[in-house]
Symmetry: C2
Subunit: 335 residues, 2 copies
C-alpha cells in the first residue's frame, strides 16, 4: 500500500510508493562525466576564468596563478550581479527588483576530479571553510539577505563543467523553500517552544530506521517525507541556525561526515549525478531558536523526475527506511 | 541587468537572467522519441493494459477491444490505490495516511503519435472532455479531495512510453503548489475583493507583452515570473475555479487554443520535451470567488535544470516577454 507522508516542517505531502520500483528503467543513472575538452578550472588555466575572489594558496604563490587548493571566482554567466542599486518597484499587480547579488563558483580542487566524494577529507574541509568565509564576507553587504550554497554534480544534475565545483548565490530575498521552512519551524516553535529540527533529530536517533551515520555532532539521515529516492540530509545535532557560525572543530567533523555520505551514495548508486543545497537562516537574523541549518543531498536517479515539475507534489518509489538501510550497509574507507 | 520578479500569487521570486543565455548548451533539446519496441497503448493491444475505466468508442465496439478514440486505464504502476480505508495516523512529530486515491492513464489516440500537438483539434477536445468526465466521477468519492491532471511528453520530461498520453492523480490531500496558489489568491481576495487571476488577465491584455494568443474566452500567455524558459499558461477569461465545470462550448474553443499553443511550442523549440499540469480547485469547495483554473505548460530545455531542485528558487534565462513575442510570431495551421 502506498503511503502519503507529510513533511513536518513545510507541510508538503509526498507519496512513498515502493510498487513503482517495478516500472521499466525506474532506476540508476551513471553520471555522464566527460573530461571537458578544455578545463578552465584546472591549475595553470587561471587566465581562462574571471579573476579570483578568494583562494587558499601555498605561501608565496601569486593570485590568479598556480599554487591554490580551493579557489573562488565570479560565475562567468551570473544570475545576479554585485554592482548597482537594489531598486524595488511595482507594475500593477507585479513586483520586481534589480537582480543585485553575488553568484560565485567554488572550484574545489586544482586537479581534474568529477565527484567531491573522491576528494580527500582535508580538501572537503577546506571547501566547507571557503563556504563559511564567503558567507561571512557577503553578509556585510546590507543589500543582501540570504546565501544559498549548492552543488550540481554531473551533467544530468545541471553541471555545465565536470571539474568538481559548487556555487554560491547570495540574494536580496529569501528563497521560498527556505522561507517555508522558516515559517513552518516558527509555527512549531510558537506552539511547542522547541526547535522542530531538534525534535526530528531526537526521534530519528530513537527509532534509528532512517539513520545513515550517527556521528558525535552530526546526524546523517533520510528524511521521513523524502521527495526523492536516497534523499539524504546532514544536520548538526546542536542547535545552530546559520551555517557561517560553524566552528573549526565542527568543520573537522563535517569533512569526514560529508565524505562518508557522498562516498556511500557513490558506491550504492554507481556514481550518480546529484545536487546538494545548504539551507541556512537569512543574514538579517541573529541565531534563531527555531531553525537549524542543514545540507540536503538529492541523487538524480532516472525515471523519477517529471511529475513534480510544476505540481510541487512528489512521488518517491523508495521508502527512506530502505534507502537508509542500504546506505548504512555500504562500507567506506576514508582517503 | 538581471531582474528578480515575484510571482503575485504564491510569492515565489524568480531571477530573469537573460545574460545566462550565452552559456554553452543553454538551449534547445529535441524530445528523445523512440518508437516503443512494443506499444501497449496501440489500438489492437488492449489486452496488454489493465481493463479500461472509460473509453470513447465507435457505437457497437466492445470494451477492451479496438474501436476507441480516447481510452482511460488504471496506471499499471500506481502511485496511489483506490481500494482501502483512508487511515490517518501520527508517529511522534510525523503525520501520514494510506495512499488511497486514483492514478489513471489517459491514452489520447489509438494510433502511434508522440506529441499531442499533432493530434486533430477534435481529438484534443475529446481528451479534454475525458479529463472532465473522470474528475466528475472521482469527485463523488468522499475520501478524495483533489484531482491533478498532467502530461509528461518525451523521455526527458519523465514519460516512460512515447505514445501520447496524460495522467490523472486524484488525491486525499491538496498538492502544496495548488494549496499555495489557493492561499495566495485568498489573501489577495480578502485585501482587494477581486480574483487575482482576473486582475492578471486584465493586466496582460492591457500590456500585451506576454500574450501569446488572445482567444474570445481563453488567454494564452507567458507569466510575469516564469520559472522556466517558454513557460506558458492557458487560462479561461471568465472566472471558474474548477476545470470539471467547463462547458461543451468551452471545450470547443479550448481544443483549438491548446492545439495552437502546443504547435507553436513544437515549431519554435524544435519539438521539445514538455510537461503540462492543470491547476484546479479542490473537490470539497463550490466555485471559489478567488481562484481560476488554468493549464501550465513547461518545455524542458537543456541546461536550465539543476539549481531549482531543492531550493525552490528559479533562474530563467529567457524573459517571458521575449518568449511570448517569439511564440506569437510562429504561424500555425490547424489540422
Amino acid at each position: 500500500m502506498p503511503e502519503l507522508r507529510k513533511d513536518p516542517i513545510v507541510g508538503r505531502w509526498v507519496i512513498i510508493a515502493p510498487e513503482r520500483l517495478a516500472r521499466p528503467n525506474a532506476y540508476t543513472t551513471r553520471a555522464d562525466h566527460q573530461k571537458d575538452a578544455f578545463d578552465p578550472f584546472l591549475e595553470g588555466n587561471e587566465d581562462a576564468t574571471p579573476p579570483e575572489i578568494l583562494a587558499y594558496r601555498q605561501p608565496g604563490s601569486d593570485a590568479n596563478g598556480p599554487g591554490w587548493r580551493v579557489r573562488v571566482i565570479p560565475n562567468k554567466f551570473p544570475a545576479l550581479k554585485i554592482e548597482g542599486e537594489l531598486t524595488k518597484r511595482g507594475d500593477g499587480i507585479y513586483d520586481m527588483m534589480n537582480g543585485v547579488g553575488a553568484h560565485e563558483v567554488i572550484i574545489e580542487c586544482p586537479h581534474f576530479e568529477t565527484n567531491m566524494s573522491r576528494l580527500s577529507v582535508d580538501n572537503i574541509r577546506e571547501v566547507m571553510w571557503v563556504y563559511r568565509d564567503r558567507l561571512v564576507d557577503l553578509k556585510k553587504d546590507p543589500r543582501l539577505v540570504h546565501g544559498l550554497i549548492f552543488k550540481n554534480s554531473g551533467r544530468q544534475a545541471g553541471a555545465s563543467l565536470d571539474h568538481c565545483h559548487s556555487q554560491l548565490i547570495v540574494n536580496p530575498i529569501v528563497p521560498i523553500n527556505v522561507q517555508e521552512e522558516l515559517d513552518g519551524a516558527l509555527e512549531f516553535y510558537r506552539y511547542r517552544g522547541r526547535c522542530i529540527f531538534s525534535d526530528m533529530i531526537q526521534q530519528e536517533l530513537a527509532t534509528e530506521d532512517r539513520v545513515v551515520i550517527d556521528s558525535p555532532n552530526f546526524l546523517v539521515f533520510c528524511p521521513f517525507a523524502s521527495r526523492f529516492p536516497f534523499e539524504t540530509w546532514i544536520i548538526p545535532k546542536a542547535h545552530k541556525s546559520h551555517f557561517e557560525d560553524v566552528t573549526r572543530q565542527g568543520i573537522e567533523e563535517l569533512g569526514v561526515v560529508l565524505k562518508q555520505t557522498l562516498r556511500k551514495l557513490e558506491l550504492a548508486l554507481d556514481d550518480p549525478p546529484y545536487n546538494y543545497v545548504i539551507h541556512t537562516a537569512p543574514f538579517d537574523h541573529k541565531d534563531l531558536p527555531h531553525y537549524t541549518w542543514h545540507l540536503e543531498i538529492f541523487p538524480r536517479l532516472a525515471g523519477v523526475a517529471g511529475f513534480e515539475w510544476g505540481s510541487g507534489f512528489y512521488i518517491n518509489p523508495v521508502a527512506p527506511e530502505e534507502a537508509a538501510k542500504f546506505l548504512r550497509d555500504v562500507d567506506v574507507d576514508l582517503d
